[in-house]
Symmetry: C2
Subunit: 300 residues, 2 copies
């Protein structure tokens, strides 16, 4: 078996594990508010790559974490936050996208009001799910610190902050500085958070948390620039969502600013830097190393 | 000084205290994402009654709580959750309201996309703010329990669940059962949560938490039915928001189902029940008792 095949099997196994974890926390579809449970499941179980919870768990393992009752609710919570942001990003008043991951977007299926509420529900439910980890932990200080990072990186100093600047500046020429701000917050923050929360839950100290944050930042930049490249070079069928949407929305991207060639080079540099930083951490997690390479060379 | 005047002064003092707490947690209005900080402040500092954080603090005091660094972040978080729900409720795809508390609604001032993001930002920031309480506490188990209640009552088994059924059933005739479900979740859940979180943070046991939940439920029912009465009988000027909006939106309310007279009677019965339940708690908090009466007899 080749290394590549072994990695891919390992990745699929972990994706299945995340699906199991997500299913175990999904609300039962009964009660007067059943529609929202259906909309949550529809958006959450649409088959994403599950990169964030996988990174979180690998970081947890890297720092010696062993309590599934603590890491799993945070893994589920992370994917819920990621999903809520997609549901709201797709709304007519935002990016107005009808397709996501090859399926109709949540508001197209359930109506715009339910699209707003499904996002709200997922965000609330993310924190509700993470709270199980707070209650179950034997290390309340580590869990509280992890929770603090989790909430901060999702909000105005993290992902939402990036969305705001992205929405506000669409159709305007962007400087490199603002583009990096948007990428770091909108895409990077949840990747930073995944690595940091996993590490924090396993009891990592502040200096290691900072290193994990920097790794996440590099992975986020590489990941987003790769997204720009794929939006320009891939097909709708391959990607499962409309391509050339950046052009359509008049978005400045790394590709529109620097061209494809420089974009490819930047992806490589950021991923090299992430791997270098990973060397500064004492433990060893070969899968995480390969995963970072995969994220950067992915085709969708 | 009459009792009534004394109560009103006490209430104003507490409202000012909540404003101080909210200001102390508001993000500084600087950075590329400044617009969202402005929109958060615009909606949060629009001068609501601040009932929920006041109830939370009084419950905390009732159970002997004394740590401001723990209760204050939760108070701020509660008002942020309440405010986010109003911002999203007012959106064009939801109730489509242009005015709230006598001022233009957030999406009217900042645009619909920023209205969605301002709500998301407030909800995220609520949990981020509450996390300070988790980090500062000397009683991590009590804080984790409080946090669990806080997140659950805001979500699909609480407020959001009520919003969903409310939105979905608008324009349809409602049974008494569904109407009570909506009122209990949409309005009651955050009032229950306020009382329960305050109590839980002060270390109250599960049986007392249940009593506080029941009190909150009664207050919620009385509060919402009073809202229905005011929507029918008050003026836009007095109320600071459009009246007769229930009729406009073809909403079944307690008043449309039972008439004004029975509605008044129900308000009285629910508030009496809340006060009876309060007698089951060992401590004594005369202000909370008066506050419950006030909520029920309010004119706006």
């Amino acid at each position: 078996m080749t290394d590549k095949k072994q990695f891919e099997e390992g990745l699929q196994e972990r994706q299945k594990d995340v699906e199991r974890v997500l299913r175990s926390y999904l609300p039962e579809k009964k009660g007067w508010q059943k529609t929202i449970f259906e909309a949550m499941e529809y958006s959450l179980m649409a088959g994403g790559k599950r990169i964030r919870p996988i990174l979180m768990k690998e970081a947890y393992i890297l720092f010696g974490g062993e309590n599934e009752k603590v890491i799993e609710p945070f893994m589920a919570a992370m994917e819920m936050v990621h999903t809520y942001s997609l549901v709201h990003d797709d709304l007519p008043a935002m990016d107005n996208d009808d397709y996501r991951r090859g399926r109709k977007t949540t508001h197209v299926v359930y109506g715009e009001d339910m699209g707003i509420l499904a996002g709200d529900a997922l965000l609330n439910y993310a924190f509700e799910t993470a709270s199980h980890g707070l209650v179950e932990t034997n290390a309340p200080e580590a869990a509280a610190r992890a929770f603090q990072i989790f909430s901060r990186k999702a909000g105005v100093y993290g992902m939402v902050g990036g969305q705001v600047v992205d929405v506000e500046r669409t159709g305007q020429p962007l400087t490199k500085e603002i583009l990096e701000f948007i990428y770091t917050l909108k895409t990077g923050a949840l990747l930073e958070s995944s690595l940091m929360v996993g590490a924090a839950l396993a009891g990592a100290g502040e200096s290691d948390l900072e290193t994990m944050e920097q790794i996440g930042r590099c992975v986020g930049m590489a990941f987003q620039i790769q997204d720009d490249i794929l939006d320009r070079t891939s097909t709708t069928q391959e990607l499962g969502k409309p391509v050339h949407s950046d052009e359509k929305n008049e978005k400045t991207t790394y590709v529109s600013l620097y061209g494809i060639e420089k974009a490819h080079k930047a992806v490589e540099e950021y991923s090299d830097r992430a791997l270098e930083l990973l060397d500064h951490i004492q433990g060893e997690n070969p899968f995480m190393r390969e995963l970072i390479g995969y994220l950067v060379n992915r085709k969708k």
